[in-house]
């Protein structure tokens, strides 16, 4: 009997492990609605009833930092748009559900936002991982799905007609940096490179593109590793990279902890590459510096479509509003904020042009080849919904600031720090 009880207990715990492992850090917690929920606005034009725009955001779990930055971006846009008269004279309300970074919860959320709450419009979630399943839901209901953080090829490979990504396609993220490395004089150019990436639809498509450019330039690949998102220990992977002693390290990362783990392991292994780029993490401003330790951020590159110091009027206005509301400096403003804000701008221009909240008209307009404006720069969608007008830039941490660095010919670009400065330890 006691043996049976013991087996039952072990079984209960194993079941708990299975559930928790499945949830992982996505930690599927109960949804919460911020601002307003469910109140249906008039679907016609004119009148005083509010328009409700639904979105699912990762307010907890793996993407919590990005999800909350996205929420700030959406809220800033709602505030500004309402101050400018709203959409077709209606004030805007945001209907936010939390998906806890879970691909299954995000599906439930959009079904709820559209099917139950009858929100007139929807905005996309954070990450390619969550955009793929949620875009399918929006497509079933015929909703336009404008998003700012679903730029992976898997989003556009779905063949959906309703998806529009206002940000630069992910697969080109490392191109400007790789081309810059390839353009260096042969005597300075890195001879070897190591590639390590998390198995995420945001990071993985970027690596082969960069690797092809570098290989063509004679940069030999000494290591190529893919690791799971919920890795137990980064040390062996980072140690392998350090042991290979590559001149350049290309890290496919989605968050700060991954980059931080590699940085600390490199310091402990007394390894300092000449060039180090990570696909995400270094763009998180002060949070990244706090994680890697002040001074260790210098020299690290990160690709992005936007940064807080961008000299563009609407971008500067948004940054000023952000700082007034949340504090910090332009370097602390996450690119997620601009991506979210741009989603609102694109929808606002489409609604204004079509004089309608009809999603089919909005989809047709966005596919018409029109060039829209956003805080990130121009937006023009191709037949797949990719933004063909955006340009990826590469930023680098220099003297404690994240600065525009590549293309080196861009106005205001700071020459890249190369080779990378030593770690401060």
């Amino acid at each position: 009997m006691r043996h049976f009880r013991r087996l039952a207990q072990v079984g209960a715990v194993l079941a708990a492990i299975t559930v928790l492992a499945a949830c992982g850090s996505s930690s599927n917690k109960s949804s919460s609605t911020s601002s307003s929920s469910g109140s249906n606005a008039s679907s016609g034009t004119g009148g005083s009833s509010p328009i409700t725009i639904g979105t699912s955001l990762s307010l907890s779990g793996d993407f919590a930092a990005d999800g909350q930055a996205f929420e700030r971006g959406y809220q800033l846009w709602v505030h500004d748009q309402n101050a400018a008269g709203g959409l077709l004279g209606h004030q805007i309300k945001l209907d936010v559900l939390s998906d806890a970074s879970s691909p299954s919860q995000v599906v439930t959320n959009y079904q709820h936002l559209i099917g139950s709450n009858h929100d007139q419009l929807v905005f996309g979630p954070f990450s390619t991982l969550l955009t793929v399943p949620s875009a399918r839901v929006a497509a079933r209901y015929g909703y336009a799905f404008v998003e700012g953080a679903g730029g992976g090829p898997s989003v556009f490979g779905e063949g959906l007609h309703n998806v529009f990504d206002v940000t630069v396609p992910v697969k080109n993220g490392l191109v400007t940096w790789a081309q810059w490395v390839a353009s260096l004089p042969a005597s300075q150019r890195p001879k070897t490179a190591a590639y390590a990436t998390v198995n995420d639809p945001f990071t993985q498509p970027q690596i082969p593109v960069a690797q092809a450019i570098l290989t063509a330039a004679g940069v030999k690949t000494v290591l190529n590793k893919v690791f799971p998102a919920e890795v137990t220990d980064y040390t062996p992977i980072a140690s392998q990279v350090a042991a290979a002693k590559p001149d350049a390290v290309v890290l496919g990362s989605v968050d700060v902890p991954t980059v931080s783990a590699f940085v600390h392991a490199f310091i402990q292994q007394h390894f300092n590459p000449k060039a180090f780029i990570a696909t995400a993490g270094p763009d998180q401003g002060d949070a990244f510096v706090k994680a890697v330790g002040t001074g260790n951020e210098n020299g690290i590159f990160v690709p992005n479509g936007w940064f807080g110091g961008l000299k563009k009027a609407d971008s500067q206005k948004m940054v000023a509003e952000y700082i007034a509301k949340y504090g910090g400096t332009p370097s602390d403003v996450n690119a997620d904020v601009a991506e979210a804000y741009s989603v609102g701008q694109a929808i606002a221009q489409a609604v204004a042009a079509t004089h309608s909240l009809d999603n089919s008209k909005i989809i047709a307009y966005l596919h018409s080849g029109v060039t829209l404006n956003s805080v990130q720069g121009p937006v023009k969608f191709d037949s797949l919904g990719e933004n063909t007008a955006g340009v990826t830039q590469t930023f680098q941490w220099q003297k404690g600031n994240l600065v525009e660095s590549i293309p080196t010919t861009a106005a205001g670009a700071s020459p890249p720090l190369f080779p990378k400065p030593a770690w401060v330890g």
Binding site: P236, A243, H264, G293
Partner: protein, 294 residues
């Protein structure tokens, strides 16, 4: 793959195993004492890390001396959690119901931390965190060495407390037979409360080790709990030494597979090994009955 890379992976696995053992020790102690499966262990580790972070950044108290404050603080918190939540779970369905109760505790802790600190990642810093010692051709990071030594010392101390002291006998007696323990004069409620307090107090050290080796935010606990439960099951639920052995076993397998084969397959190989061990020894490597007999 070279022999050096393999050896490096084994060394990394052993040292990182110390960090995980520190985090799992409280979990196995609380189960051993109360039959409580503490799903909140991951959140408590993160709470311990935040306490160290606050002392370091706000009060300027270095990490290791700061443990003299965080350990008692977590001890008090552990007793409060036992009094408010764990004690309320009925004896007959304790193991199953405790999963729900402690999940609620985890959500409360996560919510409070999110409110207090936001979701931006932070990490603990000290001069020794990024330093390493060069030994026999390998760089051994000081922080991992310190964590491993702390784990060994604390687990030996815990073992001595449970198996070589009057209090330890009271703890074990109150688990084996509450009525009999009552009859021989053991204050069962107080004993259990203190024991849970000790289990949570150890987590403060686990939080220090975790926070110094990983960037964390209030949600980071969810990544941990499934691994910590796996360690405790493999080691034998309630076994202190088993937690250490299982943590090292898990991390060595993980790191060797990551280097020799692929990091993608490392969790699968570990869980396959876990299933294999449990099919032979359902009570784990150092199951409770074996340990108690000592």
């Amino acid at each position: 793959m070279s022999a050096t890379a393999l050896l490096q992976a084994i060394v990394d696995g052993v040292l990182t195993g110390g960090v995980y053992a520190l985090m799992a020790a409280g979990l196995t102690l609380i189960f051993g004492v109360m039959d409580i499966i503490n799903i909140a262990q991951g959140a408590m580790v993160v709470l311990g890390a935040y306490l160290s972070y606050e002392l370091e950044t706000k009060a300027g108290i270095p990490l290791l001396p700061g443990l003299l404050i965080t350990i008692p603080a977590m001890f008090v918190l552990g007793m409060a959690i036992e009094f408010c939540f764990m004690r309320r779970v009925r004896e007959t369905e304790r193991a199953a119901m405790s999963i729900l109760v402690t999940f609620a505790v985890a959500i409360i802790i996560e919510g409070v931390l999110s409110k207090a600190f936001g979701v931006d990642y932070v990490q603990l810093h000290a001069s020794y965190v990024d330093k390493s010692i060069y030994l026999l051709g390998f760089y051994l990071p000081w922080i991992y060495v310190i964590a491993f030594v702390l784990a060994a010392v604390l687990l030996v101390a815990l073992y001595a407390l449970l198996y070589r002291t009057r209090f330890g006998r009271a703890v074990r007696a109150s688990l084996q037979n509450r009525t009999a323990a009552d009859l021989i004069g053991v204050n069962v409620d107080r004993t259990r409360m203190i024991a849970v307090g000790i289990g949570v107090a150890i987590t403060a050290v686990g939080g220090f080790a975790f926070g110094a080796t990983n960037a964390f935010n209030p949600n980071s606990g969810y990544d941990l709990i499934s691994r910590l439960l796996a360690i405790v099951i493999l080691g034998g639920m309630g076994s202190i030494g088993g937690a250490m052995a299982a943590a090292v076993f898990m991390l060595v397998i993980n790191d060797v597979v990551a280097v020799a084969w692929s990091p993608t397959w490392a969790p699968l190989v570990f869980f396959a090994a876990l299933v294999l061990v449990l099919s032979v020894r359902p009570q784990g490597l150092f199951g409770r009955s074996g340990v108690r007999a000592q």
